[in-house]
Amino acid sequence: MLRERIQASNYSFLDKLRSIDYLLILLIIAIGSISVFAIYSTEGGKFSFYTKNHIIRLSVFFGLFLILSFVRVSTWYKNAYLFYIVGLILLITVLFFGISASGATRWINLYFLNLQPSELMKIAVIICFARYYHRIQSSDIQSYKFLIQPIILLIIPCYLVIQQPDLGTSILIAGSGIAIIWLAGLNIKYFVYSGLLLLVSLPFAISILKPYQKARILTFFNPDRDPLGAGYQIIQSKIAIGSGGFFGKGYLKGTQSYLEFLPEKHTDFIFTLFSEEFGFLGSIILLFLYILLIYRIINVGLVSRSFFAKLYCFGFATAIFLYVFVNIAMVLGMLPIVGAPLPIMSYGGSSLLSIMLGLSIVMSCKIYNQEQISAY
C-alpha cells in the first residue's frame, strides 16, 4: 500500500499531461461554444448583458476546471464529507439570508455571483456518496444500518431545497444519490418496493405540492387545459421546436423565440431556441455531443482503480444524463415543467460552476487513475 502511494505521488508532470482526456476537454469546448451562440441569439443578435456574462463565466470556470483537474483524487476523497457539510451549511444560509426572485429564495449574494447552493449540492451528494460506499463491503451494503444512513444524508438536502421552493433541483439531487446507491449494489428489491410505495403515495404527495406546481403537473397531462396560463410555455415550446423542421429556421431567425413567447429562453428553454433555429439535425448533433460526454465520463470510471473514482464517475455521468434528459424532455412536453437547466448550455453561473467542478473531479480521476485509496 505504501509503495502504491509513493507511486501515485511520483507521477511526473508529463505523465499527468499525457493522461488528460483531451476528447473530454474538446467536448466541453464544443458544447460551451454552441451555448455562447445560442445565448447570443436569445438577445436578438446583440452582444449584450447575457452573452457577455456567459462568456466570462465560461472562461473563468473552464480555467478553474483545468486547475482543479490536477488536484489529486485522494484529496477529493478526503474532503468529500467536508464538501457535503459546506453544501448543507450554504443551503441553511439560503434559508435565512437568501435573496429572492420570482417567489423563490434560492440564492446567496456573493457580489460577483448570486450563488445557488442547491446546484453545488448536486455534486456534493455524488462525491459524498462515492466516499461513503467506497469503504463499505458489498456484504454490508444490504444491512439496514448502511441503508438508513445514506437515505438520511439524501433527505436533508432534498428537504431544504424543496423549501426554497425548487422541486426540479430537489428531484435531480435525489436522482443522483439514488443512482449511486444503485451502483453500489443495493438489492434490486428495495428499488422495486420503494417504486411501488412512491406510486401509492403519489396522490398524497400531490396534495402537499404548491398550487403552481400542481398546475404544472396537471397542464403536463393536458396542456390545452389552460393555453394562456400554465400550459402556455409547453405549447409555445412545442410550436417552436416543431416549426424548426429538419434544418431549422436558421441562426438568429427563430420567430417564436424572438416574439418573446418563451419567458425563460436563456435558461431552461435554451434547447427550444436552439432546436427552432437548427432543427432536427442540430438537435441530434447536440444530443450526440452530450452522449459522447457521458460516454467519456463513464470511460474514466472504467479505467480507474479505486471504487471511489468509479462510483463518482458513474454517478456523475448518470447525473449529467439526468440533467440533460429532464431538461429536454421537459421542453419537448414529455415531463412537467420543473425548472432544470441544460448543463453548460443554460445561462446561470451556479449551474455552470457545479458542472465544471464535477468535470474537474472526473479529470482528476483520469489523471490519477492508478491511485489506490485506502479506506480510512
Binding site: G242, F307, A329
Partner: protein, 649 residues
C-alpha cells in the same frame, strides 16, 4: 486475501450495474430522439402553421397611476389623457421608411429623429419604441388616418401625470419621468412596467411607488403572419394605483410658498399632538409638470444653475445652525439637570467687556449689552452671554441627550425622502469618533447659542418646538395620513401618562428611548418655564419678536427668533456694524423663527428659515405671524373634516 476477493466482487457489481444504467440511458435518449423526430419531421407542418399563422400576441395596457390628495381630499396629482404613438419594432420591415413617413406626418425635427434612432439602439428587436408620448390631437388624428400605411405603428390613448398646484408642492409630492434602468430593478416597477409608463422620481411619487403604480392589463390577440390582429381572445383589465392621502393642507402650503416667494428658505408647520405635517414649503421651487414628458435642456439648465438651488428640498435636506432657536432647549436641559437656578443673575456688558474663557472672547449679539439678566429674560431677549455661561455649566454631553430626545439629529420622516438629512447633534464621543479630536470647552460655549458643529433641518426645528409646546410629549411626525392616529386618543394617552407620575424619573438623565405619547421631561414646571419665556419673547416689550405679536387671544402665539451665522464675525465686522442690505448676499446671516400657536391651548408649531435673510426678528418672525393666522383660521375646518373622516372610518 478474502478482502481482495470481496473487492473484486464489489468492482464487478459496480460495473454491471453501470451497464444496466447505461442501457436505460440509451433507451431514454432514443425516446427523446423519436419525440424530436415526431415534432420536427412528422408534425412539422402542423407546428409551422401554428407558429406562422396562429401566433398569440400580447399587449400590455398601461395602468392609471393612483392619485395623491391633501388632507381635505383636494387632488394634488391627477392623470390627464394624452395621445401617444408607439412602434412595434418586430412588425416593421424597414425602420427608415416608417420613420420617414412618421416624420412627415407629425413633423419631427432632425434632433428628435436622432434621439429616436439612439433610443432604438438600446431596445430589443421585439420591443416597443415610444415615438412620442404627448401628441396633439391634430397629430394623433393624422396618424390614425394614415395608419394603414404605417407598419407597426400603434396610436395609444394613455394618461399622464398632471400636478394642478405645480410649483407649490414639488418638494413634497415630487414628480414622474421615464423609468431608468435603475428604476426597473425595483420589484414594484419591474413587475408592473409597460413601455411608456412613467414612474416616480422624487418625493411621495417615488417612495410610494408600490401604492401608486397599479397593475397593467393584458390584451391577447391572435395575429397573422404579418403581425396584424385577427381577433382579441382575452382582456385582463388594468387596475389603477391606490390613492395616497397626505396630511398637507394645500391652502396653507400655497400660502407658505407665497410668503417665501423671491427668497431662499423653508417654512414647516405641524400639528403638535398628531404630528401631521400641515405644510412643508421650500423655496425657490420649480414646475414638476415639465418633467412628465422629459424636461427640455433650457428649462433644466435654468433650474440647475439657479444659485438659490431650487432642487434642494430645504425643509428636510437643508442643514442650518439653529442659532438662538436652540436656546429654549438649552434652558430646558439646564433646568432639567438642575444645573442652574433660573433666578441666577448674569451681567451682559456689551462688546467692550465680552465673555471670556481661557483668553478667548465670546460676544453677545447686542453691542451695548443687556445688563443684569435672569434666565427668563435671557430667553426673551436672547442674551448670548447668559447662554455661554449656562452651556459651560451644563456641558455638551448632557445637552446632546436632551437635544436628541426632542427630535434633533435624526431624520423626521423615515425613508419617505431619500434626500432627508439627519443633521448633527455633537457631543464629545461624536467628535472623538468622527474627527478624532477631543472636545474643547469653547465649542460647548458656542453650542449653547446654537452655533458650531450643530446642524438641524427646518422640519427638525418644527418637531422640536412641537414637542416642547405639547408639554414635552413625544409625537410621531408624518406626512401620509394615518387614520389610526387621532387627536382625542393622543390627548387621552397624555392624560393617562400625567396621572402615572413618576414614570421614568429614575434613569431620566441617561440616553433613553421614549415611547410615542410618553413624557420626555423630568419636571413639568421646567417645560412650563420655557413656554412662558417664549411667550415673553413674543408678547412682552423688549422680546425679540414683539413686533410680530397678535393681541387677539385667538391668534396669540409664542416663539423664539434665531440668527444663524454663516461665517465667523471678526472684530472689524463688529466695528463696521453693517446693515443686512450692505453685506454681500452669501455672507448674510440666516434668519430663523420657531413658534407655536395659539399660546393658550396650543395646537400647531411652525418653523421658518430664510437663507441669508438677516435677523430672525425682521425676516422670519413676520412670515410666521402671517402664516399662523391663516392656520388658526382654518383650524376649525380641519378639525371638523378630520372628525368626520374618522367617524366614517
Amino acid at each position: 486475501m478474502l478482502n481482495r476477493g470481496r473487492n473484486i466482487e464489489k468492482g464487478r457489481v459496480i460495473t454491471r450495474r453501470m451497464f444496466i444504467l447505461a442501457a436505460a440511458k440509451i433507451l431514454l435518449f432514443a425516446g427523446i430522439s423519436s419525440r424530436l423526430y415526431n415534432l420536427q419531421i412528422s408534425d412539422r407542418e402542423k407546428y409551422e402553421i401554428l407558429s406562422d399563422k396562429n401566433r398569440i400576441r400580447e399587449w400590455k395596457t398601461p395602468p392609471q397611476r393612483g392619485i395623491i390628495v391633501d388632507n381635505f381630499n383636494k387632488v394634488l396629482a391627477s392623470n390627464d389623457r394624452v395621445f401617444q404613438l408607439h412602434l412595434m419594432l418586430d412588425e416593421i420591415s424597414d425602420f427608415d421608411v416608417t420613420i420617414f413617413k412618421i416624420k412627415n406626418l407629425i413633423r419631427l425635427d432632425q434632433f428628435q429623429i436622432k434621439k429616436l434612432y439612439k433610443k432604438k439602439e438600446r431596445l430589443k428587436p421585439w420591443d416597443t419604441l415610444v415615438v412620442s408620448d404627448n401628441l396633439t390631437w391634430e397629430q394623433f388624428s393624422k396618424i390614425n388616418l394614415y395608419l394603414h400605411e404605417l407598419e407597426g405603428a400603434k396610436p395609444v390613448l394613455s394618461t399622464s401625470r398632471y400636478y394642478p398646484y405645480a410649483n407649490d408642492l414639488v418638494h413634497i409630492v415630487g414628480y414622474v419621468g421615464d423609468a431608468s434602468p435603475k428604476d426597473l430593478e425595483k420589484p414594484e416597477i419591474k413587475e408592473n412596467f409597460v413601455p411608456g409608463l412613467k414612474v416616480g422620481k422624487y418625493g411621495i411619487e417615488n417612495s410610494q411607488e408600490k401604492m401608486l403604480i397599479g397593475n397593467y392589463g393584458i390584451k391577447r390577440y391572435e395575429v397573422n403572419a404579418s403581425g396584424k390582429r385577427i381577433s382579441q381572445i382575452d382582456y385582463i383589465k388594468e387596475r389603477q394605483g391606490n390613492k395616497v392621502n397626505l396630511t398637507i393642507d394645500i391652502e396653507i402650503q400655497k400660502y407658505a410658498q407665497e410668503l417665501l416667494k423671491g427668497k431662499a428658505g423653508s417654512i414647516c408647520a405641524m400639528d403638535i399632538y398628531t404630528g401631521e405635517v400641515i405644510a412643508m414649503a421650500s423655496s425657490p421651487t420649480y414646475d414638476p409638470n415639465k418633467f412628465t414628458h422629459g424636461i427640455n435642456q433650457k428649462d433644466w439648465q435654468e433650474i440647475r444653475n439657479n444659485p438659490l438651488k431650487p432642487l434642494i428640498n430645504k425643509s428636510i435636506a437643508g442643514l442650518y445652525s439653529p442659532g438662538s432657536t436652540f436656546k429654549p432647549l438649552v434652558a430646558l436641559a439646564a433646568l432639567e439637570y438642575g444645573i442652574l437656578d433660573p433666578n441666577k443673575t448674569i451681567r451682559c456688558k456689551g462688546h467692550k467687556h465680552p465673555y471670556e474663557l481661557y483668553g478667548v472672547k465670546y460676544h453677545c449679539w447686542k453691542k451695548e449689552g443687556h445688563g443684569y439678566m435672569k434666565l427668563r429674560n435671557a430667553i426673551k431677549q436672547s442674551c448670548d452671554i447668559y447662554f455661554y455661561e449656562m452651556a459651560r455649566l451644563l456641558g455638551v454631553d448632557k445637552l446632546s441627550i436632551i437635544a436628541k430626545r426632542y427630535g434633533l439629529g435624526t431624520n423626521v420622516l423615515g425613508d419617505l425622502y431619500k434626500d432627508e438629512k439627519n443633521g448633527l447633534v455633537p457631543n464629545t464621543k461624536w467628535k472623538r469618533r468622527a474627527l478624532e479630536q477631543s472636545w474643547y470647552l469653547g465649542e460647548t460655549v458656542i453650542n449653547g447659542i446654537g452655533q458650531g458643529y450643530i446642524q438641524t433641518t427646518p422640519l427638525q426645528l418644527c418637531l422640536m418646538t412641537a414637542q416642547i409646546a405639547n408639554g414635552g410629549y413625544k409625537i410621531k411626525p408624518h406626512i401620509i395620513k394615518d387614520n389610526t392616529i387621532n387627536y382625542n386618543d393622543i390627548l387621552n394617552k397624555i392624560k393617562l401618562d400625567q396621572s402615572n407620575f413618576p414614570l421614568h424619573e429614575r434613569n431620566y438623565l441617561d440616553e433613553i428611548n421614549v415611547e410615542y405619547y410618553q413624557r420626555m421631561y423630568h419636571k413639568k414646571s421646567n417645560i412650563n418655564f420655557v413656554l412662558d419665556a417664549m411667550f415673553g419673547s413674543t408678547n412682552e416689550q423688549y422680546g425679540t419678536s414683539y413686533k410680530s405679536r397678535y393681541d387677539n387671544l385667538k391668534y396669540q402665539f409664542a416663539g423664539k427668533t434665531g440668527t444663524s451665522q454663516v461665517r465667523r464675525i471678526t472684530d472689524l465686522d463688529r466695528e463696521l456694524d453693517l446693515d443686512t442690505e450692505q453685506i454681500e448676499y452669501k455672507k448674510r446671516d440666516h434668519a430663523l423663527y420657531v413658534a407655536f400657536a395659539p399660546y393658550k391651548d396650543p395646537r400647531y408649531s411652525i418653523s421658518v428659515i430664510i437663507e441669508h435673510g438677516g435677523s430672525g426678528s425682521k425676516a422670519a418672525a413676520p412670515l410666521a405671524s402671517k402664516l399662523i393666522k391663516r392656520i388658526i383660521d382654518r383650524h376649525k375646518l380641519r378639525e371638523q373634516f378630520n372628525n368626520g373622516n374618522t367617524s366614517l372610518a
